[in-house]
């Protein structure tokens, strides 16, 4: 069992195992299910993630609130016909994240990762990384266990709810979980995984949750795209051997304290931030009257 990043790291060292292996072992112990059953269950999540990250690339999806839609396809076309400044990998990943968010906002099927509002980041990063590194499905399933291990630590020591900690707790946590997974997929060390997760959270520390009209549409979809980029670049920094000045557990603690000190207007109530702008309020009026 592990409650902190340090404890998780110690377990990987003592047993000479990867984060995913430690998480799977913990899951076997606590649920009594076999590794095969657990992998099958995680594969179902992966399947839903794959579908939701593809759907919006080909088809223009319109959200029920009508605020967002069609951006995943727009970005996918841009990759096909132009030369994206930040390269096709980053753009493909963003398009996949947008697709998941659009599917979610259109009442399509998604896998909460860790929440519905942040459901694009982990699918987009894991699928894109596996494509770049030419990895098989089994490795992607491992990566999802690594992601949930990091998520468990954040849930235990901080929060994954926007209403409690702002967007840093949803898209920020997803980004950290994804960053740690990318490192493992790329063959980096467990320390590097935690470093990547630390950097990802540090980059968005303080990000508020201010959904326009209270709906999981804007700015949520684009924050899934930027959270995806944040995860990939944080992983690259860690894989290059760059270290985080502040260790993971302390970053998580800081995130919790920052979340707690955010006024309620900036924690999913739609009373502040972008939701309270002139345009934000007009959109709300147009939808709800």
């Amino acid at each position: 069992m592990f409650n902190t990043g340090n404890e998780l790291l110690a377990l990987t060292k003592e047993n000479d195992k990867k984060i995913s292996e430690i998480v799977i072992e913990k899951e076997i112990k606590t649920t009594g299910q076999s590794e095969k059953e657990l992998r099958e269950k995680m594969k179902k999540n992966l399947l839903v993630m794959k579908e939701s990250s593809e759907k919006g690339l080909k088809k223009e999806i319109k959200s029920i609130g009508g605020i967002i839609g069609g951006d995943a396809k727009r970005l996918n076309n841009y990759i096909k016909h132009k030369s994206p400044i930040s390269g096709s990998t980053i753009n493909k990943a963003m398009a996949r994240a947008l697709s998941c968010s659009e599917v979610n906002a259109a009442m399509g099927k998604i896998c909460a990762a860790p929440t519905a509002g942040s459901c694009g980041i982990i699918p987009a990063t894991i699928i894109t990384t596996s494509e770049v590194l030419n990895l098989e499905e089994d490795k992607m399933i491992n990566a999802l266990f690594t992601a949930s291990g990091i998520g468990e630590i954040i849930a235990k020591n901080s929060t994954l709810a926007g209403a409690e900690g702002g967007c840093q707790a949803e898209c920020g946590a997803a980004s950290a979980m994804a960053a740690a997974s990318i490192v493992e997929l790329a063959g980096g060390s467990c320390e590097m995984s935690l470093t990547a997760a630390s950097i990802a959270i540090k980059n968005i520390l303080g990000l508020i949750c201010d959904p326009i009209a209270g709906l999981v549409e804007s700015p949520c979809a684009k924050r899934n795209a930027s959270g995806t980029v944040n995860a990939i670049t944080s992983a690259d920094l860690a894989l290059a051997g760059i270290e985080s000045v502040i260790p993971f557990d302390e970053v998580v603690e800081a995130m919790y304290k920052v979340g707690k000190s955010l006024p309620k207007e900036l924690r999913e109530t739609s009373l502040g931030g972008l939701a309270a702008t002139e345009t934000g309020k007009k959109i709300k009026k147009d939808i709800f009257g």
Binding site: E27, M42, I64, C111, T115, A116, S148
Partner: protein, 228 residues
Amino acid sequence: MVNYSSFDILGPIMIGPSSSHTAGAARLGKVARYIAGDNFNKVKFFLHGSFAKTYKGHGTDKALAAGVLGMEPFDDNLPKSLDIAKDLGYDFIFYETELEYEHPNTAKIVFTENNNEISVTGSSIGGGSIVITNIDGYDVNLTGEYPTIFIRHNDKKGIISEVTTVLAGFEINVAKMQVNRKNKGKFASMVIETDDSLPKSMLALLKGLEDVLTVRAINPVKEGDINV
């Protein structure tokens, strides 16, 4: 410190856009329907707080309706639930309302057939989890996460021991039990949450007890509840 499973963090698989306003609403509808039983043709949904204010944008109405039709929060047909209900001949009506002292994401669901009415009130409390707070005027507190029995009975001496004796006979361990009544000597209710799943034969025995009026049961499975 709360312990989490990997699948609490990655999952549930659900129809979007919101775990509280969509997935939780579907679960709430489903648990309410199991409590109400199958005999209804008209359902009134009273939406309170954030449910009332944002249901159109979150599909809360569709999710509640889907749950009442027995769908899971991940059912592909969830967005079409209102049309499906119409095709099946159900009359579903939605009201925006103010319920006193309730959680912001609350709905009161009233099932009707002829002159019979049963009302179930519950809240979506985050991450797709729910709590049922009132059944037909009786205050309760049940989550639908445990196998649960809801019994309406005459308020008579010894009825609780009769019920628990039946449970003991089937080696069912009681995890939590709540008793409540409207008036002394008249109607009362019991909510029993158990550690073990509820066999049909046991429920039939409970229904056969002299002062028991109705018995409802929910046998939950994390991904897809089983009706009994």
